[in-house]
């Protein structure tokens, strides 16, 4: 009874003491002994390691083998260094051959002996478009001018004038084509020089430009051929005109003779 009364009286103190005891008492911690968890982790990591070695390492090795094969194939079959060097050398050899050709095309070939023909010939062989305006004077000095109206009937003057025009045009165009051909030779030389510093990858780019130049060159060749055809066409037209004018004059003459005889 006494103890119970004492406890009842000091219950709050007992509770506080119990609280303090609870708060300061040590907590349970995990011991240092090996946990079964670590063994599982070690085994797992070992398996991961061997899997990385076999799956990823093996896979990468296979890829490396294939890439090495491809690299070797490219270096020995597709783009061997020696073949590339020889191809570059070939470009140089071709340039050498065409340098000879350019040289022989510079051999002077003029052969006229008299003053007027010499002057016209020098203009025609000049390869200088600046000389084109001089063609008319040189042409007139050698081949004469269109007859005056007193000396030739209009049809004949027309034929003479168009024939002179086409002949002069062809001569002027010949000077231009010669000059263009020189420019093309120089451009092709530069392209060939560029080829000699190219690689198999950049060569198609240079080739594309060369192809464009080739198309251009074909166009100029066709232009020259067209002028040649014009000259031939005028020649043919002159033959036809000769017959036409001849028949016309024959009819006129017959009429005149008939008229004269009737007057007698």
């Amino acid at each position: 009874m006494h103890a119970g009364r004492c406890i009842r009286r000091h219950a709050v103190l007992a509770a506080i003491a119990l609280l303090m005891t609870a708060l300061v008492s040590p907590r349970q911690i995990q011991g240092q002994l090996p946990s079964p968890c670590c063994a599982v982790l070690a085994a797992g990591l070992g398996t991961i390691n061997s899997t990385l070695g076999s799956v990823i390492g093996g896979g990468l090795q296979s890829i490396n083998t294939v890439l090495s094969d491809i690299s070797n194939f490219e270096q020995t079959v597709i783009w061997p260094r020696q073949a590339i060097t020889r191809a570059l050398g070939m470009a140089g050899q071709i340039q050498g051959l065409y340098a000879q050709i350019r040289g022989i095309f510079r051999i002077p070939i003029s052969s006229a002996t008299l003053q007027n023909p010499k002057q016209l010939e020098s203009i025609l062989l000049s390869r200088n478009p600046g000389q084109i305006p001089s063609t008319t004077g040189g042409y007139g000095a050698v081949y004469g001018a269109v007859p005056t109206p007193q000396n030739a009937p209009p049809p004949v003057r027309d034929i003479i004038d168009i024939t002179d025009a086409v002949a002069q045009d062809a001569m002027e165009r010949a000077i231009a084509i010669d000059a263009i051909a020189d420019q093309e030779l120089a451009a092709a030389d530069q392209i060939n020089t560029n080829v000699q510093s190219a690689t198999p990858g950049s060569a198609p780019i240079i080739e594309a430009q060369a192809d464009a130049w080739l198309v251009r060159a074909h166009a100029y060749t066709q232009s020259a051929l067209a002028d040649l055809m014009r000259v031939r066409a005028i020649d043919l037209a002159n033959n036809a005109a000769h017959l036409k004018l001849g028949s016309s004059w024959a009819v006129t003459t017959r009429q005149n003779v008939t008229t004269t005889l009737q007057h007698k």
Partner: protein
């Protein structure tokens, strides 16, 4: 914790008579229980499951991807070696080039060696020989041999001045072209050499001389040679244009003169008839 709860419960029962004391013990008990209560339990960590997941990722996901990449590279290698740059196809192409060389080159070369010489007299024979010898070293001899065959321009006084000029011009254009053709002949021979060299190189059986990768360089060089060949063609056409234009101009000059003579004759006849 059960122990603490029991003790505080007992203390509260003992202090039931005093309400304030009961509340105080209740509050202290709550604080004590809160103090000794364990922290919330962490969820269960399944290490084998995680390891298995990693293994699955490595072996299946990454392994499969590596297998796929390897498959793609193998396909590329097979494509290179069997389809695009098959050694057999490369060798076949070179063999075909050699076959075409064997089949055609010698025949064409033999055909081109046929050089017609049909003149019979000394001067024409000499001229024919020099204009067909495909050399430029003797180009300066052409005018003299031309004159020997076609005779020189008449002396002044022996021919009308305009006829003399035209004759000289005709001769000049003809001689210029004969000389130009000697140059062109030699140029053609050099072009044929270039073509032979290109063909020999691309048809060479050694992969170290002709390979698919080096052919683009040879092609580029060949196209630049084509441009030059076109330029030479243009020069020849220009020469032909000069010659044709000269021929037409000559005919036209005769036409002019005929017209002039006809006009003069008409005037003269008219004058004569008027005088009668």
């Amino acid at each position: 914790m059960l122990l603490f709860t029991t003790i505080f419960g007992g203390l509260m029962l003992l202090s039931m008579e005093n309400r304030r004391r009961t509340i105080a013990i209740l509050l202290i008990g709550c604080v004590a229980i809160l103090g000794v209560s364990p922290p919330p339990a962490q969820a269960q960590f399944c290490l084998p499951c995680v390891i298995q997941t990693v293994l699955t990722t490595v072996s299946q996901t990454i392994g499969n991807w590596l297998g796929s990449i390897n498959g793609v590279f193998s396909n590329i290698r097979n494509l290179y070696e069997q389809t695009i740059w098959s050694i057999n196809a490369i060798n076949l192409a070179k063999a075909q080039i050699q076959s075409i060389i064997t089949q055609f080159r010698a025949v064409i070369q033999r055909t081109m060696t046929i050089n017609p010489h049909t003149a019979t007299l000394p001067n024409p024979t000499a001229l024919e020989s020099i204009i067909r010898n495909r050399a430029t070293g003797d180009i300066n001899s052409v005018p003299q041999l031309y004159v020997n065959a076609f005779r020189p321009v008449p002396q002044a006084g022996a021919i009308a001045p305009q006829d003399r000029d035209m004759t000289d011009m005709d001769d000049a254009l003809a001689q210029d072209n004969l000389m130009m053709l000697k140059v062109a002949d030699q140029a053609q021979d050099l072009e044929l050499q270039a073509a032979d060299q290109i063909e020999n190189m691309v048809g060479n059986s050694s992969i170290n001389i002709s390979a698919p990768g080096s052919s683009s360089l040879i092609t580029a060089a060949a196209v630049s040679a084509e441009i030059k060949s076109q330029a030479i063609m243009q020069k020849m056409l220009a020469a032909m244009m000069r010659q044709e234009a000269g021929s037409v101009a000559h005919d036209n000059a005769l036409r002019k003169r005929t017209a002039t003579f006809a006009g003069q004759l008409q005037n003269n006849l008219t004058n004569v008839l008027q005088h009668k």
